[in-house]
């Protein structure tokens, strides 16, 4: 059955106009994907699946493998999650459950304002503050004493996978924080009271309630943060060191997919070089697409569970 008043020409016009906009957005996404595929065809034909598992990136010899970039993006994002998730979830618990009423709004607002800072500003702060501080007070001492652990091996330059991960963590905290707060707020009051009425402490209440209601939501928030981290370009490229090598130490420089495209696009002269960069873009597009889709799916099941009251 058709919606709207049948035969009313204005309604029909309105319906069709909005449909055009909706499909326009969809069309743009498909077009973007199609163009990425078309432009990366020369590279796909030349290197095939090896593109994803080869570590050489040699524009002079026209031999391209995206693995160092893929590795850098994934590892720096993973470090970011490792730092951001506990901080963001902890802050969400504090703001929602412990902070006095007058403090909730300003703290929540300021934390979410972090999301509005342009990434190049984060990058500048990273170069001038974060990287020197990390280098002198964290990476150097740790590399001196624990350098035998492969992850902490020197020499320490400053720009590094760790710096990128930490900077990213600050950038994704607002997203994870705000989703976590919403997830915590969906917990039925009666469930919290159940824990208290059994003689549970405030801490036990939070622990049980998170275990019973919030794990899928916090996981969804995490994946959402991951999606942001994977695609971040400017801030990462300013502090990661931009070296297309795969090094186990997080104190060593690395590179990222988004950073590679931004840095090398203007220099990419040959057709194959350009095509290889576009293919990196395609891989990044697919990666973030899948991650965001997963996050949406998880959040959706969580919300529908919450609305059914379980």
């Amino acid at each position: 059955m058709r919606r709207g008043a049948p035969g009313n020409p204005k309604d029909a016009l309105f319906e069709r106009t909005t449909a055009v906009f909706a499909f326009g957005v969809l069309f743009l996404a498909v077009l973007l994907f199609a163009l990425l595929v078309r432009e990366s065809l020369p590279s796909i034909r030349k290197f095939g699946a090896a593109f994803l598992v080869t570590g050489t990136w040699d524009p002079v010899a026209e031999s391209f493998g995206a693995l160092p970039f893929l590795y850098g993006t994934v590892v720096s994002s993973f470090i970011a999650l490792l730092i951001a998730v506990p901080l963001a979830v902890g802050s969400a618990i504090f703001i929602n459950e412990f902070a006095p009423e007058w403090l909730k709004a300003p703290v929540g607002f300021l934390a979410e304002l972090l999301a509005a800072v342009p990434s190049v500003i984060y990058g500048l702060w990273g170069i001038f503050v974060l990287v020197p501080v990390l280098r002198d007070y964290l990476m150097k001492p740790v590399a001196d004493h624990l350098g035998w652990i492969p992850f902490f091996r020197g020499p320490v330059y400053g720009p590094s996978m760790l710096a990128a991960g930490m900077l990213l963590s600050i950038m994704i905290i607002p997203f994870i924080l705000s989703v976590s707060r919403e997830v915590l707020a969906t917990v039925p009051r009666i469930q919290k009271e159940a824990v208290l009425s059994l003689g549970g402490t405030h801490w036990e209440m939070i622990r049980i309630v998170i275990g019973q209601h919030c794990i899928p939501g916090i996981f969804g928030a995490t994946v959402l943060g991951l999606g942001r981290a994977l695609g971040e370009t400017m801030a990462v490229t300013m502090v990661i060191g931009n070296r297309p090598d795969i090094l186990l130490s997080i104190f060593q420089p690395g590179h990222s997919m988004a950073g590679a495209i931004a840095n090398e696009f203007t220099e990419a002269t040959g057709e194959l070089y350009l095509s290889a960069l576009v293919e990196i873009g395609l891989v990044l597009f697919l990666l973030t697409f899948v991650v965001n889709l997963a996050a949406k799916g998880i959040l959706k099941t969580m919300v529908s569970r919450a609305s059914r009251g379980i």
């Binding site: 469930q191 919290k192 159940a194 824990v195 059994l198 003689g199 405030h202 019973q212 379980i310």
Partner: protein
């Protein structure tokens, strides 16, 4: 007859709004006390004062005294967590924990007091509690089912078993049957009668027939005041106050 709880001049406010006015009441040990009255009369607020359930409600304030075991629960450095282990609560909506099995739901409170118990000790407590809540025969073979997969009435009895497992002295029940069908309600009522041998029970209800069936004494609340309190027989046949009579004869509320 000694008293499990003594309430003296209890007043309560949500922000500026006063919801309880000078409530004074003695609650007898091992008896069933019903708190009845029309919606908004403060009956739920009242019983939630008895285990300090309002502690986390912003803007809530209380004055007066509630004595439990000879100590005022609002002063005398009472730890509300320890108090709530002695004064358990069952809510209007059955609220088992959704990701816990029947067994885990009943055992969950045992883990709060930090005492390590062996699996077999836990199993004993779970069985005892489920038997007291008249659920053991139905569920002894289904202890690993999710608590939320039970019927509404079973879920409510599961919540009663969960409250009993921590061995309280007093059980507060906030309209425990209002979300249930008549058959399930009847089973909860039977259960309340059985439990009153060992426990002091305070039930909030807006159902007069129910109050009449299960109670030893009935307190009638109206607009935040305790109008009168007496034996169920006295309240329902010969109330002292005109307003009580009007309420039980259905003239308002």
């Amino acid at each position: 007859m000694d008293n499990a709880l003594q309430v003296k001049d209890l007043c309560a406010w949500f922000g500026e709004h006063q919801v309880l006015k000078n409530i004074t009441m003695d609650i007898r040990r091992n008896s069933v006390t019903s708190v009845m009255g029309p919606s908004g009369c403060g009956k739920s607020t009242f019983i939630r004062c008895l285990n300090r359930m309002h502690d986390l409600t912003p803007g809530f304030r209380v004055s007066g005294e509630v004595f439990f075991d000879g100590r005022n629960i609002y002063t005398d450095r009472i730890d509300p967590v320890l108090l709530r282990r002695k004064v358990g609560m069952v809510f209007q909506q059955p609220n088992p924990f959704p990701r816990m099995s029947v067994f885990e739901n009943v055992a969950v409170g045992l883990k709060f007091n930090g005492k390590k118990r062996s699996r077999s000790e836990m199993a004993d407590v779970v069985e005892k509690s489920l038997r007291m809540a008249a659920l053991w025969d139905e569920l002894s073979d289904h202890l690993d089912r999710p608590g939320t997969s039970l019927s509404g009435g079973q879920q409510q009895r599961l919540c009663i078993a969960r409250a009993l497992a921590v061995e309280p002295e007093i059980l507060l029940m906030d309209e425990p049957c209002s979300a249930l069908d008549p058959t399930s309600s009847a089973r909860i009522e039977d259960l309340i009668e059985d439990l009153s041998d060992k426990y002091t029970i305070v039930v909030v209800t807006h159902n007069m027939q129910q109050a009449g069936r299960i109670s030893d004494s009935v307190a009638f609340f109206l607009l935040g005041e305790l109008i009168e309190m007496d034996t169920a027989a006295k309240i329902f046949t010969n109330p002292a106050d005109k307003r009580t009579e009007e309420y039980i004869t259905g003239r308002f509320g």
